[in-house]
Amino acid sequence: MTETSNREEGAADEATVVDPRRLHEAARIAEALVFASANPVSENYIADRLPVGVDVQHVMRELRSLYSGRGVNLVRVDDHWAFRTAPDLSFVIRTDETEVRKLSRAALEVLSIIAYHQPVTRAEIEDIRGVQTSKGTLDVLMEAGWVRFRGRRRTPGRPVTFGTTKDFLDHFGLEELRDLPGLDELKGAGLLSGRIPANFQVPMPLAEDELAEDEDPITQFDLEELGLLTPGGKEDE
């Protein structure tokens, strides 16, 4: 909490009445108020919260010049104050970023079923969920990079099986699929209530590189045959 000496000069006009310590404190308050507010803050609102006898306009002018050369500027809009990224730096903030989207409830459900029940076919996913799964949901999960085609079930129709990816483990902070909590642990954590039937089971997922007994590995040929293109493969790159 040391005072900045250069302030004293600028404050010359009021300096006779306000001591620099008070002024510095006022600046800290104004700064914090504007920073924490979701909307631009009116000058009156700030003034009400400053120590008595401190001129709000003076304080704000000081603050504005303090921030003028910095990465963040204090700007005034209609008697309201707000912090904004310095215009010349907007490129750092918006470049490569795509907006991060929240996964829909449906997508979360499908993803969790795939995680626990893999290798699992689409029909099985629908059976567990009790509703049809739109193709879009699986696409989203593929796009996210968390779900992949694992193989094909050796049953009539040779349905494709789904599984999770390495990125899935990374994202959710799991070392291996076996780290997913089991029935007792979900119960213990309060995620499942005690009111579940005795035969209720939470499967222990198969490791990602392990094939089930009735599963064939998926090949490029399969993908082409099915008219499936690995997502992300074409679009962005």
Binding site: V100, R101, E143, L186, P197
Partner: protein, 287 residues
């Protein structure tokens, strides 16, 4: 800080009624018998109650008499029984353990006896009380820190969310598990009639007991203490049978080891080494 010593009264003499001690600590815990049930509900389990009793001994945990504490607790449980107050099983199991502890402290050690000594058990209890209290203090210190959203604030109008994730989607493991659990739950519940919550079974009691003996990994003969506190005299015979069955079940699961010297001898239990972090200890298995 929670209950401080300020309102707690003088050191306890053994002949003093323990209830007086307990209810005269006015703050947050009532002062007359009618509020008894509420008072018990105010405790976070038997260890919490013991901590509270220990404080009423005026001396701090350093100089606490574990024996006196055990007696106080047992007297409390007895009084609760007399006024027909139902105590949660956790409390009763602790009572059983303390009754056993008391017997170990009072009865001279037999040569052939290889259960834990009363002193070891007392030390274990004191350690657990101390550890719990330490965690309480830590919690208080934690909660009194400058907290985000209360004392310290983040940018109110964030301009972007920095992300290094290759995936353009966000979700936490908790979101995922929550989605899965509630989905499965939803479908499970539609198919079953809801099971009625049964009273504490002996298997449940054993489960709690197993946790209570936690730090004791030596042979412990808790059975008859447990039965005494957990059951009605009339049901004792069947209770013994089912408790024995339950303990065999736990043995099969590899959670406990069990031993009996001979017919009608006490049944000794201990936590199985397999179920826990290894500890160097030559098992004195005499069977």
């Amino acid at each position: 800080m929670q209950v401080s010593g300020s309102k707690v009264q003088k050191a306890k003499r053994p002949d003093e009624a323990p209830m007086d001690q307990l209810w005269q600590d006015g703050d947050a815990r009532g002062t007359h018998e009618e509020s008894l049930v509420v008072d018990i509900a105010g405790f976070e389990g038997p260890l919490d109650l013991l901590l509270h009793l220990a404080r009423t001994q005026k001396v701090d945990l350093a100089r606490i008499s574990v024996l006196a504490l055990a007696e106080q607790y047992l007297a409390f449980v007895e009084s609760a029984r007399q006024v027909r107050i139902e105590l949660a099983a956790d409390y009763l199991v602790m009572a059983a353990w303390l009754a056993y502890l008391k017997s170990r402290l009072l009865i001279p050690r037999q040569v052939k006896d290889d259960g834990p000594s009363g002193e070891e058990m007392a030390a274990s209890l004191a350690f657990r009380l101390k550890r719990l209290e330490a965690m309480r203090d830590a919690a208080t210190r934690l909660i009194n820190r400058n907290r985000l959203g209360r004392d310290v604030f983040a940018r109110g109008a964030p301009e972007h969310i920095p992300t290094e994730r290759r995936s353009g989607f966000d979700a936490t493991l908790y979101d995922l598990l929550n989605a899965y659990a509630s989905l499965r739950q939803r479908h499970a519940v539609t198919q079953v009639t809801i099971e009625k919550r049964s009273v504490w079974s002996l298997a449940d009691a054993r489960e709690v007991l197993y946790r209570l003996i936690g730090v004791m990994d030596d042979w412990t003969a808790l059975d008859h203490f447990l039965l005494r506190y957990m059951t009605d005299p009339s049901e004792r015979a069947t209770a013994i049978a089912s408790s024995f069955a339950a303990s065999l079940e736990m043995v099969r699961e590899g959670r406990v080891e069990i031993r009996q010297e001979g017919a009608f001898q006490p049944i000794y239990l201990r936590r199985s080494n397999r179920a826990d972090a290894p500890r160097e200890e030559e098992a004195a298995d005499g069977d």
